[in-house]
Symmetry: C2
Subunit: 241 residues, 2 copies
DNA sequence: GCCGATTTGTCCGTATGTATC
DNA sequence: CGATACATACGGACAAATCGG
């Protein structure tokens, strides 16, 4: 059940676009028509359309209307996008997965780690290394640093299930902003020891900083993916300069 | 000169954040204060803040205020983000670059190309292959398909300068939406023949679909980067479900 | 624990500008 | 030229979260 009028409109339009009730390259109903359909103000439909545009679903044309840019995607591989958990993504892509924790320690943030992680020196952290398997093949190596001032009573067992289920549903932590840096880097000894790499000598690497709704840095993670199990989709809108 | 009030506020706040006048983790002035400073309505300051939030510069906290999440980045390598041209990016990163066109042909879109590119079968296209050098090292291979119904009179010489300068300043084409898919793929024979790859056996690959403001598909490009000359930054905001 | 001040979140209605047809 | 459609901006109302007294 959508909380807000805005969200209702956003979801409804998105669904109609995905189901191709509004097909690729066709115009949606005009803003004025949508105002009547959803019984709301102009600003509210515009907010929904704006969000759909930033997600690449539609594009507004001044003096013309709003056009669908959505085409169904057909990809076999693993796909990430937005702030999505590994599990969500796996379910969405209909893939069987498992997680194996290979290291679970308490550490204190030192000077060197502070520079890359963004945690303050002296912050108590969980340091976790885990291998993620897709279709029983170990293909992703995750290195997590969680802020112990925010995350409490974490166990190996929880990590093997889903960290984010625990954070959100048990600890009621609101995740708000996530910044990521994507690079492609050489395979390390650590990768070779823990993953099945075939002859790949590079990995897709994502370094992520995650903040709570209270603006505390709560997670720093390095996620190393075998190339053939990595893909990332992005939409950019040219700023109206 | 900013066209709109909104843009002025957005730029001014961004500058103050980047110059750390509003430092990392500190609160910006409240919306009501900003209304007075910029002599505008609440919605207008909120639009600016919203955009800064989607770019990872700030985060709003209900009942508290808006906090800066900006920390200066220090990277030596090549960085892309948003819809930025190769040239812009190079200038921003203070790097010398050059472009060498190795193939420039007119083709017609066939069935196979239509599936990946999204152009309709029969669309006349420019097919261009070029190598981009950074610090005189050939490290990026670009394969462009441009819609000839939109792009006219393109020449090898223009491509060697800057396609986008020509498209925007000469042809006055407005670029609006760009969708990209990032993957990491095996080095091909084509890569080996044209680039200096050392012993890397993978490439960072970006496949991009670009639409005009008129919602016409105008470009499909495959851009293959040597791993050590590739990085991409991204910010995601959790949807308030 | 309660109340009030402050701050952001959501929503509305209206006016004006500008692009398209 | 007029009708339609999106873009920008204003001002107001109320809700929800936070914090201090």
């Amino acid at each position: 059940m959508p909380k807000s009028k805005f969200e209702h409109i956003y979801r409804d339009l998105k669904e109609k676009i995905e189901s191709e009730e509004y097909p690729y390259m066709e115009l949606l109903p005009s803003e004025n028509q949508l105002i009547e359909v959803y019984d709301c103000s102009r600003n509210t439909v515009r907010r929904a359309i704006k969000l759909l545009a930033t997600e690449g679903y539609v594009q507004s044309q001044h003096g013309v209307g709003v056009r669908s840019l959505y085409r169904p995607i057909h990809r076999t591989n693993y796909l990430i996008g937005g702030i999505e958990t590994f599990k969500d993504s796996a379910i969405r892509n209909n893939i069987t997965t498992s997680t194996h924790v290979i290291s679970f320690e308490d550490i204190i943030c030192d000077q060197k780690l502070a520079e890359t992680s963004g945690f303050e020196v002296g912050t108590p952290l969980y340091y976790i290394k885990k291998v993620r398997c897709i279709d029983n093949k170990p293909v992703i190596l995750d290195i997590n640093y969680f802020n112990k001032r925010i995350i409490t009573d974490l166990t190996k067992e929880i990590v093997e299930q889903s960290c984010y289920d625990y954070f959100e549903n048990e600890l009621h932590i609101d995740i708000a902003t996530s910044k990521r840096l994507f690079t492609v880097e050489r395979v390390t000894k650590q990768d070779q020891e823990n993953l099945e790499l075939n002859d790949y000598n590079c990995m897709a690497v994502i370094r992520g900083h995650v903040f709570t709704a209270g603006s505390e840095l709560f997670e720093y993670t390095i996620s190393r993916h075998r190339p053939d199990y990595f893909a990332f989709a992005d939409t950019a809108i040219r700023k109206h300069v």
